[in-house]
Amino acid sequence: MTATTRVESVELVPAGGSGWSVGLSNLLHKEFGQWWTTKLWWIQTLIWLIILNGVTTVIMLDSSGMAPDALVNEAVQTFVLVAATAVGIAIVLTLQGSIVGERELGTAAWVVSKPVSRTAFVASKLIAHFTGFAITAILIPSAVFLVTAQFLLAEPVAYGPFAMGMAVTALNVLFYVVLTLALGCMFNGRGPIAGIGITLILMGQFFKGMLPETIVLATPWLLGDVAASFAVQQPPAFDRMVPMIVAGIEIVILALVGIWRFNREEF
C-alpha cells in the first residue's frame, strides 16, 4: 500500500435521501446491469422464443383442416396459456436464489451495511426481475408471435385483445416474481421457495377444475384463462375481474410481508 494524502473531492455531494427509497437507484442500476449487461437477457429471450414461439409456430404450420379463425384462436390460446404456466415455473426456478443466495454469500449483509433501505433492496430485485421477465418472456415473444402469425395465418390476430391478454399474463409474471422474492425473504433455504412456488403452479394445473370456484378464484390459477379469454375475445364462465383483483391484492400482501420480514432480518 502506498501513502496518499487525503484529497477532498469538492464536486461530490452526499447522496442524501431518506425513507424506503434510499439507495434504490444504485441498486436498480446494479440489478438491471445483471440482466442487460450479461448474457442473461439473450439466454432468457432465446429460451422463450424456442418454447413459446416454437410451439405456436408448429400449431400455425399444422392447421389440420381447422377453420382460419379457429386456428388463430388455437395459436393465441396456446401462446397465452403456455406463457402463463411455463414462465411462472421459470420465474420460481430462476429467482429462488435471488435473495437467499445473497444472504448465503454475504453480499446482502454487505449491501445493507451501506446507507440503503432494506425495502429498496427487495424493491430493486422486484422491479428488475419483473422487467426482465416481462420483456424477455412476454414482450419479445409476443412481438415475434404477431409477426409469425402475420405470415402464417390466413386470419389476422386482433392486436388490442391480444395486448390485453398479454397484460394479464404480465400480471401473472408479477405475481410469481413477488411470490418468489417474498418467499426468499421468509426462508433461509432454496428448497421451500422452489417447493412452494412449483407446487402452487402444478396444483393449479391438476386441481383448478376440481376445487370449488370460490377457492380457485382466490388463487392465481385462473390468470392464464383470463388472459386467454381476453386474447381470443371469448368471455369465460366466471367474472374475469375477480382473479385479477384477487391477484393484485395478493401481490400487495406478499410484497408487504416479504419486505416486513426482510426489514426484521438480522445480518
Binding site: 461530490l12 455531494v13 431518506s18 454469500l105 454475504g106 451501506k114 446507507p115 438480522e266 445480518f267
Partner: protein, 338 residues
C-alpha cells in the same frame, strides 16, 4: 504478570500509541448504554456501556465469541438489541440506522462482494450509495482509494480473482471510499500477512486526523501499537475500558531490584497507607520487590525513600512497571474465568 519492564531498565518498549496518547476529551461519537443481545438461550452481549470519543482509535478487544461483532452490528443497526440502547453521532442505532451508516465506513469480519464486479466497479457501486457528482470526480475518489490500499494494479480484476489479503484491502477501501466520520473495522488485519498488517495500521494512524476509528481485533500487538483507548470484552461482558496507557501502567506498580535482606523494607512498606501490595521474590541477581500503590504521586515521591531508610539495602534498579497488553488481557480474561 510474568514479565515486566522498568523505566530505568533496558527492555522498556514504549508503544507508539502511548507516545501519541491523547486525552479522551472529544464528544462521544458512539455511546452505548446497557446494550444487550440474546440469541435464544445464549447471551451474546450483556449490558455493554461504551463511549467512543471523536478522533480516537479505539481497539475493541476480546477472544473469539466475546461479542465484538455482535456489538458492532448493534451499533450499525444491522441487528436489534434485546435491551439497552446505542447512539452514533447522537442518532439512535435502531431508528436512524440508515442516517448513521451514511456517515460510517464499515468493514465486516469476512467481507464479501459481488464476484462478477471488478474491484473498481465494487468501489463505484459502494461510492454511489454515499455521494453523487461528476463521473470524473467519482473516478478520482476511487483512484485515490485504490491507491490508498495498494490495489491500483488489480483494480480491473473481478473480485473472485482476488486473494484473501487483496479482498481485505478492498474491504478497507470500500469502508473508506466515503471519507467517513467513523470507521468501524471488524478484524481489519486478520487475513493479512505481516506487511499487510503493518500497512493497515499505518492507514489507520493516518486516518485518525479525520476519522474516529473503532475496530475489533484479537491481535494484541496491533492494539498496543495504534490504539489510544482499549475496550476488552469477554463472554459478552466488558471487563476493561481505559486508555491504552492506563491499561499498560497496570494499576501503578513498581519494580525494585535490591541487594541485601529486603524483609525489613517490605514490612515498612506494608505499613504505608498508599501501598496496596508488596511482593518480594528472589531472582538470579538478588531480590526483586514488586510494589503496587494506590496513589501514584505518593509512590513516585516516597517509595524509594522508604526503602533506602534501611541502610543494609542497596537498590540496583528502580522503576515503574509497564505491562504489555497481552499480559493485561490475559490477566483480565483469566481473572473473569476464575
Amino acid at each position: 504478570m510474568q514479565s515486566a519492564s522498568t523505566e530505568t531498565g533496558v527492555v522498556t518498549q514504549r508503544p507508539v500509541a502511548e507516545q501519541q496518547s491523547r486525552e479522551m476529551s472529544g464528544p462521544a461519537v458512539i455511546h452505548a448504554s446497557g446494550l444487550s443481545k440474546r440469541f435464544g438461550s445464549i447471551e451474546a452481549l450483556t449490558g455493554l456501556d461504551l463511549s467512543v470519543p471523536q478522533h480516537s482509535i479505539v481497539g475493541f478487544l476480546g477472544p473469539n465469541g466475546a461479542g465484538k461483532t455482535t456489538a458492532i452490528k448493534l451499533l450499525l443497526g444491522l441487528s436489534r438489541p434485546t435491551s439497552g440502547q446505542a447512539t452514533v453521532f447522537g442518532l439512535d442505532a435502531v431508528q436512524d440506522s440508515t442516517a448513521i451508516r451514511s456517515r460510517v465506513g464499515y468493514l465486516a469480519q469476512d467481507p464479501r462482494f459481488y464476484t462478477h464486479l471488478t474491484a473498481r466497479e465494487t468501489l463505484e457501486f459502494t461510492a454511489k450509495f454515499f455521494f453523487r457528482g461528476p463521473k470524473l470526480a467519482i473516478q478520482n475518489r476511487i483512484e485515490e482509494t485504490l491507491d490508498l490500499v495498494g490495489l491500483t494494479d488489480k483494480a480491473d480484476r473481478p473480485t473472485k480473482g482476488l486473494s484473501g489479503g487483496e479482498r481485505q484491502r478492498l474491504g478497507i477501501a470500500q469502508a473508506q471510499v466515503n471519507h467517513p466520520d467513523l470507521l468501524v473495522l471488524d478484524e481489519p488485519a486478520a487475513a493479512l500477512d505481516p506487511l499487510g498488517r503493518r500497512d493497515v495500521l499505518k492507514i489507520m494512524e493516518r486516518l485518525r486526523e479525520h476519522t474516529t476509528i473503532f475496530y475489533s481485533t484479537h491481535i494484541l500487538d496491533d492494539v498496543q501499537r495504534v490504539s489510544d483507548h482499549v475496550v476488552i470484552l469477554h463472554q459478552g461482558r466488558k471487563v476493561a475500558d481505559a486508555t491504552t496507557s492506563q491499561l499498560l501502567d497496570g494499576g501503578c506498580s513498581y519494580q525494585i531490584d535490591i541487594r541485601g535482606d529486603g524483609t525489613t523494607a517490605r514490612t515498612t512498606l506494608e505499613g504505608q497507607p498508599w501501598v496496596s501490595e508488596v511482593v518480594l521474590a528472589t531472582t538470579e541477581n538478588g531480590d526483586r520487590m514488586m510494589v503496587t500503590v494506590t496513589n501514584q504521586e505518593a509512590g513516585d515521591a516516597l517509595l524509594l525513600r522508604s526503602i533506602l531508610r534501611d541502610d543494609a539495602l542497596t537498590v540496583t534498579n528502580f522503576g515503574r512497571m509497564h505491562h504489555n497488553l497481552e499480559e493485561v488481557f490475559l490477566h483480565l480474561v483469566e481473572g473473569q474465568e476464575t
